[in-house]
């Protein structure tokens, strides 16, 4: 009985320090929602007008091509002021923010991002009139970014 209890105790000691790996630095769906709130405030975010183009299945999360395009005339009276992109499970919820003006002609931005896990990506566009439009996409990642050994 004593021996059994002793063994159970040591097992607990061994397991505990290895709790959540990298638990200190990880975005969660709640962290993403909070980051979005910070940008949009109390304004309602409507779905539509934004299209978020990225592959549904990603083999290597280290470089994932992503294109955000927003329907907008991009005139002085009605243009897209900013595009924000967020993720759920990378170390930080924010991916990037771009500021645009009518001088861009088209509200289209492309880049390549890192994904640490399968997750949801959200793009939010802010119009010059203060409206917010969004689109989201779910991505499955087979090999996460940041796991490769640095050389």
């Amino acid at each position: 009985m004593d021996r059994r209890r002793f063994l159970a105790g040591t097992a607990a000691i061994v397991v505990l320090p290895f709790g959540p790996p990298f638990g200190t630095a990880s975005a969660t769906p709640e962290a993403m929602a909070a980051a979005i709130r910070k940008v949009v405030g109390d304004t309602a975010v409507r779905e539509g007008r934004v299209s978020l183009d990225l592959p549904p299945l990603v083999e290597n999360g280290s470089t994932v091509p992503l294109v955000v395009s927003v329907e907008s005339p991009m005139t002085v009276d009605d243009y897209i002021k900013a595009i924000h992109v967020f993720n759920e499970k990378n170390p930080q919820p924010g991916v990037f923010t771009v500021r645009l003006s009518p001088r861009n002609g088209r509200a289209v931005v492309g880049t390549r991002i890192k994904l640490g896990d399968s997750q949801k990506i959200v793009a939010i566009a802010e119009t010059s009139g203060g409206q917010f439009w969004s689109a989201s996409a779910d991505v499955i990642v087979t090999l996460a970014a940041c796991l490769e050994e640095a050389t």
């Binding site: 924010g94 931005v109 994904l115 940041c146 640095a150």
Partner: protein
Amino acid sequence: MSNVLVNAPKTAKRGSSVEIKALILHPMETGFRPGPNGRIIPRNIIERFTATWNGTEIFDMEMSLAIAANPFVSFFAVVSESGTVGLRWTGDEGFVVEEQIAIAVE
């Protein structure tokens, strides 16, 4: 600079919107990865990328850890007159790179 690759049309019709693509060599180290010696490699990323047209800012991007190494960015710009597009990357450890490219109106 040899570590920057910019792709944009040399000539364009007046008033048309052209795509500008820019690639820069940079590790975009997140500060979460251990190196070969087991120690965490310090964070080193590009935080900001801006573009100007004849000196007026037309594009501004705040980058984060989640931008892939060797950041690639594509965006559009209206060609109102012949001019130069100035691109500027700034980041950790005093990283600053500037590049210029000329676009002429046909």
